[in-house]
């Protein structure tokens, strides 16, 4: 399955790439047929209204919980909302593998992707929250459409089963808790609870701390002039507290620095070296082929 919130993707990945491709072919062939018979709603490419999506990211037991109200387009996928959250908070963008499995949020964990030990997976579980509680998503974030009334929930499972029996995020599954409905400017002043500050977290309470991040200092969440990633100063005032969340023992790292060290060889020399190496060996092959094709004297 591509991009399912559980680690099924990474499990199939290493062993049976062919199976995966066949499965993917089946996955894309089925909807192609379905479009003929099913009532399909077509959308234009550019009609993307702004909505506010509540995103709860739980870094796991003993770590912090971050809740943010993210401005997103109505057609955005869960993965796009997660990326918009990172750029709004100024944290490292989510890292996903080639099959769409989310490997890291805010740079946590720094390495690995759905790593398996024994029968358990260290992975980011994906949930949808509404008034009735959290439900484990049976669809990957890249395939799900974010809804304003539904909370996008993420919880890191250090040793998860990879199925709905894993614990849900500790934040509120109610969208209204994170994204307050439109209210007079006086009540929409950003609130940062002390629990989310690094000093409080180092105490190791493990309790859920909530950071409410409005997308604009003055307007309510329904204002349409707010674009994701261009949040007002109020959002940035809380970003350090949230960014520090996953790093239990350290100060928050600036995004630029993290990008530089995170990906190995992100300099153009890596590209030049890699292409050059392949070209050199391939050229040697062409040389040998030409020498052998020459009629012998």
């Amino acid at each position: 399955m591509h991009g399912v919130g559980g680690p099924a993707a990474s499990r199939a990945m290493g062993s049976a790439a062919l199976t995966r491709v066949l499965r993917r072919l089946a996955l894309v062939a089925a909807p192609a047929l379905l479009t003929i018979v099913a009532p399909v709603q077509l959308h234009g490419a550019c009609a993307a209204d702004q909505v506010q999506i509540a995103v709860v990211v739980d870094f796991g037991t003993g770590r912090s919980v971050s809740a943010a109200c993210v401005g997103a387009g109505t057609r955005d996928s869960g993965a796009a909302v997660l990326a918009a959250r990172a750029s709004q908070l100024g944290t490292a963008p989510p890292r996903t593998n080639a099959s769409g499995l989310v490997c890291a949020i805010d740079g946590y964990p720094s390495e690995g992707c759905g790593e398996q030990t024994g029968g358990h997976y260290a992975y980011w579980s994906y949930w949808h929250g509404d008034a009735s509680g959290w439900t484990y998503s049976n669809v990957g974030p890249a395939g799900s459409r974010a809804q304003p009334g539904t909370v996008e929930g993420w919880r890191f499972q250090p040793a998860g089963a990879g199925n709905p029996s894993d614990p849900p995020p500790r934040g509120s599954p109610d969208a209204a808790t994170t994204c307050r409905p439109a209210a007079p400017p006086a009540t929409s002043v950003p609130t940062v609870r002390p629990a989310s500050r690094p000093a409080a977290r180092t105490g190791g309470t493990g309790g859920a701390s909530t950071t409410a991040i409005p997308t604009s200092a003055a307007g309510g969440p329904t204002s349409t002039d707010v674009a994701p990633g261009t949040t007002a100063a109020a959002g940035s005032s809380t970003e350090t507290a949230v960014a520090a969340g996953p790093l239990a023992n350290g100060a928050p790292t600036p995004v630029a620095a993290r990008r530089g060290t995170g990906g190995h060889g992100s300099s153009p020399w890596g590209l030049v070296g890699g292409v050059g190496l392949v070209g050199a060996v391939g050229g040697a092959g062409a040389l040998v082929a030409r020498r052998r094709a020459r009629p012998s004297p």
Partner: protein
Amino acid sequence: MNPRSLHPLAWWLWALALGAAALRTTNPFLLGLLVAVAWLVVAARHPNAPWARSFGSFVRLGVAVMVVRLLLQVLFGLRLPGHVLFTLPSADLPHWAAGVTLGGPVTSEALVSAFSEGLQLAALLACVGAANSLASPYRLLRSMPAVLYELGVVVTIALSFAPQAALSAQRVRDARRLRGRPHRGLAGLRGLAVPVLETALERSLQLAASMDSRGYGRRAAVLDGRRRLTQAAGLIGALALTIGVYGVLDEAAPGGLGIPMLVVGLVSLVASLILTSARSTRTRYRPDPWRWPEWGTVVAGVAVLAVLVVAANVDGDALRPAYSPLTVPALPLLPIVGVLIAGLPALLTPRLPEDRL
């Protein structure tokens, strides 16, 4: 080193190990290097025979697979967030078909991911193509265990059916053209079918007669008990092998299932093969030797696989780079050296008899 052609089984083992190594990584540099190394070895050691040109067609097939993979990604693929290149009109599928999006924004991250996954398949195809180019299918058939010989003959004949049919169709068409009969379109097809069918039937009768006269299917007399024993060993071996493969591939399987079952299955199957071989009275004329160049070739292939398996445990992110956020994949030193080792057979194997360099 006297010029000779390498044992075909050595080339196949080398190529299959290379293909298994390709499945361990999606790093485009490593995959590209793998294809380049396979091309180098094929260029240096492919014999001058019609089947030796299959490497090129396999590479072309691989390129086609990559194009299809990219198209699928653009049309229905994952909508990885990132740098949007262009946006297709998107459609929401009904609830019960959720999980698949059609259209939507196409990002460079998604395209690069699809490219590297397509390249993995293309590299696998190139490895199989290399084996097809390097190893003579006829010699491979000859070096099969005696039990599988008859099966091998059947497979070879079946595989040669399509080219033979095309050849005889061409011949019939030429004959009709020379005689001024219609040879194109529906009218041409009508005159074509019967003669081609007739030729095929005639050829198969001739083939059956020639196989019969060469003693195909002749068996030595074997005691009933021993026959049952070999059959049971074969069945148990196949079963244990299946369970063992399941155990190895699925890490969540119970501990005792993996390697132990694999070993039991292999031993049982090999025993069954050896026991059954005693029934066959076929002898081998001038068997292909298995000397140190063969060992070296197999070791070079297995070394790549081993290096990539080790490297996946040491630094898995370099072998399976994530493209979201978009970065240039790493150039991991150890796997690169490992893949270069796979090119050694280009130098260390004996030259072919037809080459006079």
